[in-house]
C-alpha cells in the first residue's frame, strides 16, 4: 500500500493553508508535527477525503481520494471528534460500522473487541455525554479502527489522554503500523517516541522537515522548539 500526495495545495480565500506539498507514505507510522495553524489539519482532511484540494492529487495505490474505494481503506479520527451525546459507546460504534459498510455480525464482534482494547467495555452502554474527555477520545480511536483500516489518519489523537493512556495508545499504533499506513498529527514530540519511523514537520503549509525519527531524535526536539518560537 502506498499513498501518493502530489503537489497538493489548499487555499482559503487569500490564505494558503497547504502549499504544493508532495510526499509518499508506505506501511509504518509517520508523525506529523507542527504548531497550530501550520496546515496539519487541512492536509489530513484532504487526505481523509473530506476537503477537496485546490490543486494537486492524492491517491492510494492509484485510487483517488474522493471515492468509496478509498474510503473503504480509511480510518480517520478528526481533531474535533464529533459524536451523538445520547448514543451509548456501543451504539455509536455500531452506527459508525454501518457507515463503514461493515456487515452486522462482523460489526458486533469488532465493536466488542475494540471496546475492550480502548478500555471502555464496562461503560459501553453509558451515554457518551457522561464520558470524560479522555474516554470520548478513546471512543474516537475505536471508531477509526473498526474497519481494520489500511490507512489510518489521526488528528491529534492523544489530546485528552492521560500519560498511561498515551503509552497504551502508542503501543496500539505501533502494532497497527507494522502492516498499515498510519499518519498522526501532534504538537507533542514525545508522542512520536518509539513509534514514528518517519517524521514530517510543517510550517506555513509546507514541510520544513521530512526524515527518519532515528536520524534526528535530538535535533528534532530542538528544531521543533525553534519552529514553535518563530
Amino acid at each position: 500500500m502506498r499513498i501518493k500526495v502530489d503537489r497538493v495545495s489548499k487555499h482559503f480565500k487569500n490564505k494558503i493553508a497547504v502549499d504544493r506539498v508532495s510526499f509518499e507514505l508506505q506501511e509504518g507510522v509517520t508523525g506529523l508535527l507542527g504548531a497550530n495553524g501550520a496546515g496539519k489539519t487541512t492536509l489530513l482532511r484532504m487526505m481523509a477525503g473530506i476537503l477537496e484540494p485546490s490543486g494537486g492529487e492524492i491517491k492510494a495505490n492509484d485510487i483517488p481520494v474522493f471515492t468509496e474505494e478509498y474510503r473503504a481503506l480509511l480510518g480517520y479520527l478528526p481533531q474535533n471528534f464529533g459524536y451523538y451525546p445520547d448514543f451509548s459507546a456501543r451504539k455509536f460504534l455500531m452506527y459508525i460500522a454501518s457507515l463503514k459498510g461493515i456487515e452486522k455480525k462482523v460489526a458486533v464482534s469488532k465493536t466488542e473487541e475494540l471496546l475492550e482494547v480502548v478500555g471502555l467495555s464496562d461503560v459501553a452502554n453509558k451515554k457518551i455525554r457522561t464520558f470524560s474527555g479522555g474516554m470520548k477520545q478513546r471512543v474516537g480511536i475505536a471508531q477509526a479502527l473498526l474497519n481494520d483500516p489500511r490507512i489510518l489518519i489521526l488528528d491529534e489523537p492523544t489530546a485528552g489522554l492521560d500519560p498511561g493512556e498515551r503509552a497504551k495508545f502508542r503501543d496500539l499504533i505501533g502494532e497497527i503500523g507494522k502492516n498499515n499506513i498510519v499518519l498522526f498529527s501532534t504538537h507533542i514530540v514525545s508522542d512520536l517516541e518509539r513509534v514514528a519511523g518517519r517524521v514530517l514537520m510543517m510550517r506555513d503549509g509546507a514541510f520544513v522537515y521530512d526524515g527518519e525519527w532515528s536520524d534526528a531524535e535530538g535535533d528534532l526536539e530542538a528544531l521543533y522548539l525553534k519552529e514553535l518560537k518563530r
Binding site: R45, G49, R71, G82, Y83, P85, G101, N147
Partner: protein, 372 residues
C-alpha cells in the same frame, strides 16, 4: 448496497425518534388530533335531536322535502330551538344559494346552482374549453340530490386543513436537523470519511425522514377519524359534496373527496419533508430551515392574489393548504396538459412529487459537495 442503506436507515429512524424535540412535538400533535376529533364529535352531539336528524337520511331533495322543511322552519320560535332544528343541515345546503330570496323551492335551488356555477366560472375567468369541460362534468351529476346528514364528515373534511398544517410543522420541526444536526455535532467529518457516508447515508436519511413524516401524518388522520367515529359515527360519507358546496360541479361523494384530501395530504407531506431535508442539507442550520418553512406558509396564507392574475393565483390555489380546503371544490380552474384538461386535484399530487424530487436532488448536490 441495499443492505447498507437498510442498516443506516434504521439508525436514521432511531436518531429522529430519539430527538427530544421530536418526542415532545409529536406528543403535542397526538393530543391535538384527539382533541380536534372530540371537539368535532361534540358539535354533532350538541344537537339534542341528532337521532332525529338521522331519520332524514336518504331523503330526496325535491319539492316535497323542501316544502316540508320550509313549513317546519316557519314554526321555529327562538334561536335555541333553531340550533336543534332537525332540518339544520338540509336548510344549510338549500339556503346557501337562495340569493336572499327567503325560503326557496327545490326547483329554485337547482336553478340557482347552475346560475352560481356560471357566475363562478366568469369570476374565475375560465376559457370556453374549461367551461365546456365543466358542463360535461355537471351532466354526469345525478339529480335530484339525496340528503345524508353530513355534519361529521363535513367538519372532518374541514379539519383535514389542520392535518396539512400539522404536516408543515412536523416536517419543519422534526426534520430540520436531519442534516444540520450532523454539522452541529461535528459528525459530518466522520461521516464523509466513511465508505457509505455520502450516497448511502443521504438515501437513508431521506427515506427515514419521509417514512417518519408519512406514518405520523396518517396516524394523526386516523386518530382524528377515530375520535370522531367512536363518539358519533361517520355518517354522511356517501353524501354528495354538493350538500356542502351546492354549486360545485365535481361529481364526488364525501368519501371520495376525503380520499382526495388524504392523497393531497400524503403527497404534500412528501413535499414538505423533502423541503425540510433539502434546506437542512443546504443551510446546515436547523433554525434557518424552520424559519424558511414557516415563512413560506405565512406568505401562502396571508398574501391574497387577485383572480385577474390567473396563473399566479392558480399556482397559489394549488398550495396544499389551500387545495385541501372544502371550498376548493368551487375552484373550477383547470390545467391543460397535452391538449387535455385536468382538475387541480388530479395534477397537484404529481406536481408535489416532482417538486419534492427536485428538492431532494438539490439537497443531494449540497450534501455531496459538503466539505470540512
Amino acid at each position: 448496497m441495499m443492505k447498507s442503506i437498510r442498516e443506516l436507515y434504521r439508525f436514521e429512524i432511531y436518531k429522529i425518534l430519539h430527538s427530544k424535540l421530536t418526542v415532545s412535538f409529536v406528543l403535542i400533535l397526538v393530543a391535538l388530533s384527539v382533541i380536534m376529533g372530540l371537539q368535532l364529535s361534540k358539535g354533532a352531539r350538541d344537537l339534542i335531536i341528532y337521532d332525529e336528524v338521522r331519520t332524514l337520511n336518504g331523503l330526496v331533495i325535491n319539492d316535497e322535502t323542501v316544502d316540508r322543511m320550509n313549513a317546519d322552519l316557519v314554526n321555529i320560535d327562538g334561536l335555541e330551538k333553531e340550533e336543534n332544528y332537525k332540518y339544520t343541515g338540509l336548510a344549510h345546503t338549500v339556503n346557501m344559494i337562495n340569493e336572499g330570496d327567503g325560503l326557496i323551492s327545490a326547483e329554485q335551488f337547482y336553478q340557482n346552482r347552475l346560475k352560481f356555477q356560471h357566475l363562478n366560472m366568469e369570476e374565475l375567468r375560465l376559457s370556453d374549453g374549461e367551461k365546456q369541460w365543466w358542463t360535461e362534468q355537471e351532466a354526469e351529476i345525478q339529480k335530484p340530490f339525496v340528503y345524508v346528514p353530513q355534519l361529521n364528515v363535513k367538519t372532518f373534511a374541514e379539519y383535514m386543513t389542520n392535518i396539512c398544517l400539522m404536516a408543515i410543522l412536523l416536517t419543519a420541526i422534526c426534520l430540520s436537523g436531519v442534516f444540520a444536526g450532523e454539522y452541529r455535532n461535528n459528525m459530518d467529518q466522520l461521516m464523509f470519511s466513511c465508505r457509505n457516508g455520502r450516497r448511502q447515508t443521504f438515501v437513508a436519511k431521506i427515506a427515514a425522514g419521509m417514512t417518519f413524516s408519512i406514518v405520523w401524518i396518517l396516524l394523526f388522520t386516523i386518530l382524528l377519524a377515530l375520535s370522531l367515529w367512536l363518539r358519533t359515527g361517520l355518517d354522511g360519507l356517501s353524501g354528495v359534496i354538493q350538500l356542502e358546496v351546492p354549486y360545485s360541479a365535481y361529481n364526488l361523494s364525501f368519501l371520495q373527496f376525503i380520499g382526495i384530501q388524504i392523497v393531497i395530504v400524503v403527497t404534500a407531506t412528501v413535499l414538505f419533508a423533502a423541503m425540510a431535508m433539502a434546506l437542512s442539507a443546504i443551510f446546515k442550520n436547523g433554525v434557518a430551515v424552520m424559519g424558511t418553512m414557516v415563512g413560506i406558509y405565512l406568505i401562502s396564507q396571508f398574501v391574497n392574489i387577485p383572480l385577474k392574475f390567473r396563473l399566479i393565483s392558480q399556482v397559489k390555489a394549488m398550495f396544499p393548504t389551500e387545495l385541501i380546503t372544502v371550498w376548493s371544490l368551487a375552484d373550477f380552474r383547470l390545467i391543460k396538459i397535452a391538449g387535455n384538461y385536468h382538475s387541480m386535484y388530479s395534477v397537484a399530487p404529481a406536481i408535489y412529487i416532482i417538486i419534492a424530487i427536485v428538492l431532494v436532488l438539490a439537497g443531494h448536490l449540497a450534501f455531496k459537495q459538503s466539505q470540512r
